[in-house]
């Protein structure tokens, strides 16, 4: 942890963001990660500062076969620990992504991890259809040929307007 909630308040932040990974080789690491997320949740409750948790299945233990279940586990763990918003990578299809949305019952944002820039808009549209509340985009925007145009297109999809 490199920052405490009160530091974030001093910086004028509107929310805290933390990772929650599942699939660590060592269960100790997963436990510590969850402990950190829980501690941030408790502290952010005291400050009235929303906590966004990015839930990512990652590492050698994650396979195609268990990815979806692990993503559902991670997002639900974050929700139960006290996340106000969760984010998780798009699974590639709307049906499986909807399962994650339904199991979290908390605003869920799509992450653009490992999605080709060319397919990003399509993925955003699908995840919104699956019930996502929006997106957290990084590389998909700043590595696009025209980042501003890409962002405007995403914005239009998410807010269904302008």
């Amino acid at each position: 942890m490199n920052l405490e909630p009160k530091d974030a308040v001093a910086l004028g932040a509107s929310a805290l963001v933390a990772f929650l990974f599942v699939g660590y080789d060592d269960d100790e690491d997963e436990a510590r990660n969850l402990e950190t997320v829980s501690m941030l949740a408790r502290e952010s409750e005291r400050f009235g500062l929303p906590l966004l948790v990015e839930c990512v299945p990652i590492g050698n233990r994650i396979t195609k076969a268990n990815y979806l279940d692990c993503a559902k586990l991670a997002t639900r763990m974050a929700v139960e620990a006290g996340a106000d918003i969760v984010a998780t990578p798009y699974t590639g299809n709307a049906a499986s992504f909807k399962e994650i949305v339904d199991a979290s019952k908390t605003p869920l944002l799509m992450l653009d991890r490992r999605i080709d820039a060319g397919r990003l808009l399509e993925a955003v549209e699908e995840s919104l259809k699956a019930g996502a509340a929006g997106v957290v985009v990084g590389r998909g925007v700043h590595r696009a040929q025209d980042p501003l145009a890409q962002l405007a297109a995403i914005y239009k999809l998410v807010h269904r307007s302008r």
Binding site: R61, D69, V79, D102
Partner: protein, 416 residues
């Protein structure tokens, strides 16, 4: 010893009118992800709350999000899970635990801010890593101190857990965990049933604080769950904590009402769930008193068959060591009744013992192999089994047992 704060908050969990409690655990999503019944937790909880349990256990995140379900004056008390573990992710789970881990996720102060009437934490006994066990203990004592300061009840879920737990040491580990938690400062225990009434009664007495029994995954039907509750109360527990059975029930509210009828209204499982009636007596074993005289076996065959033949006895005595003997009488478990493919075995509707309808019996011996205690014998000449009938209400084995290793006691629940 107990602080006013603890006393007051405890009275929201364990009903002071009858000192009994029905608690529903709904923190599964935290440990296992969205399993059946808790995917839409709010929807399930609305129905659970409708059944009026005394308390509901939630993770910190859900406690905050679903706060609105607890805002009535007569709402269930809220209990907050203060720790997390991967211990329930077994080999069949999508991401199995490689070693047992447990961390704190909220402290007593946080739980009070959420409006909780108590916190629940684990205490595992039986891990091969003793360092982990020591850390587990340390975490429990940290919670105990904080709860003492703040006047918040601490409910410890003491479980035999880990590589060193075996069938043989389970009951002892269960009892040890209960006592250790009580000595550390737990106010209430949430534990697994040891499996038999005598060892559980001893463990409850040794713990000296109120004990709630976990339903466990074994109970498959409503009736099974109610029987667990019935037996646990009989052994001195003050109530139950049911999780999956409730949240995965077709109607969670109805389920809670049925459990309440047994726990708070003193009804029997049979009265509430219907089905077979058992009793009016059952045989209680006090193995420590048994001298291996075998008079029970002798009188059993004499009264049923007119001659002495221990091999035909409807109970047996196991010799465990030179000075330890265990009588195994019929427990009215009903496995033989369930196993009979032609319906020749029934519980006598008036007297509740097992009865063989000879005309229906085809001699298939299913009941012989179904009996977990190996006390259903088979008469090769007649081609029919012989089964304990509790001597139609006054068992001779207990009557003739001089050292009181067997006693006939009322089956209907009532503290011994």
């Amino acid at each position: 010893m107990s602080s006013p704060g603890k006393t007051l908050r405890l009275s929201k969990i364990i009903d002071p009118d009858d000192e009994r409690a029905v608690v529903v655990a709904a923190d599964h999503g935290f440990m296992l992800g969205p399993i059946r019944g808790v995917v839409d937790l709010e929807k399930t909880l609305r129905r659970v709350v409708d059944g009026r349990p005394d308390a509901v256990l939630l993770s910190p995140g859900q406690a905050a999000q679903l706060n609105h379900l607890f805002r009535r004056k007569d709402s269930p008390a809220l209990l907050v899970r203060a720790d997390w573990t991967n211990a329930f992710r077994d080999k069949t789970y999508t991401l199995p635990a490689r070693k047992i881990k447990r961390v704190a996720v909220a402290n007593a102060r946080d739980a009070i801010a959420m409006g909780a009437s108590g916190i629940v934490t684990y205490f595992f006994l039986g891990q091969s890593d003793e360092e982990a066990e020591a850390r587990d203990f340390e975490l429990m004592s940290f919670f105990a101190r904080e709860c003492r300061e703040l006047g918040l009840p601490l409910i410890v879920e003491a479980l035999p857990m880990g590589e060193r737990v075996t069938g043989a040491n389970f009951a002892d580990l269960d009892a040890a965990g209960m006592r250790i938690a009580a000595e550390t400062g737990a106010d209430v225990l949430k534990v697994l049933y040891t499996g038999d009434i005598d060892s559980f009664e001893r463990a409850v007495r040794a713990a000296g604080i109120p004990v709630l029994v976990l339903g466990g995954a074994k109970a498959k039907t409503l009736r099974d769950s109610l029987e667990v509750a019935e037996e646990a109360l009989d052994a001195g527990a003050v109530g139950v904590v049911y999780g999956r059975q409730v949240v995965q029930a077709e109607d969670p509210g109805e389920f809670v009402r049925a459990v309440r009828a047994v726990v708070h209204e003193g009804k029997s499982a049979a009265q509430v769930a219907g089905g077979i009636a058992k009793g009016p007596v059952r045989l209680r074993v006090f193995a420590g008193n048994c001298t291996n005289c075998r008079l029970c076996e002798a009188i059993c065959t004499f009264s049923h068959d007119g001659f002495f033949s221990p091999s035909r006895a409807r109970l047996r005595v196991d010799v465990v060591s030179v000075d330890r003997f265990i009588p195994y009488p019929c427990t009215l478990c009903g496995h033989c009744v369930k196993s009979c493919p032609v319906g020749a075995l029934i519980f006598n509707p008036d007297l509740g013992y097992v009865e063989l309808i000879e005309e229906k019996c085809n001699g298939c011996k299913e009941c012989v192999s179904a009996c977990p205690f190996r006390i259903v014998g088979f008469d090769e000449e007649k081609g029919k089994p012989f089964i304990c009938d509790m001597c139609r209400g006054s068992p001779k084995c207990a009557e003739w047992c001089q050292p009181d290793a067997l006693k006939a006691v009322p089956y209907i629940r009532g503290r011994a």
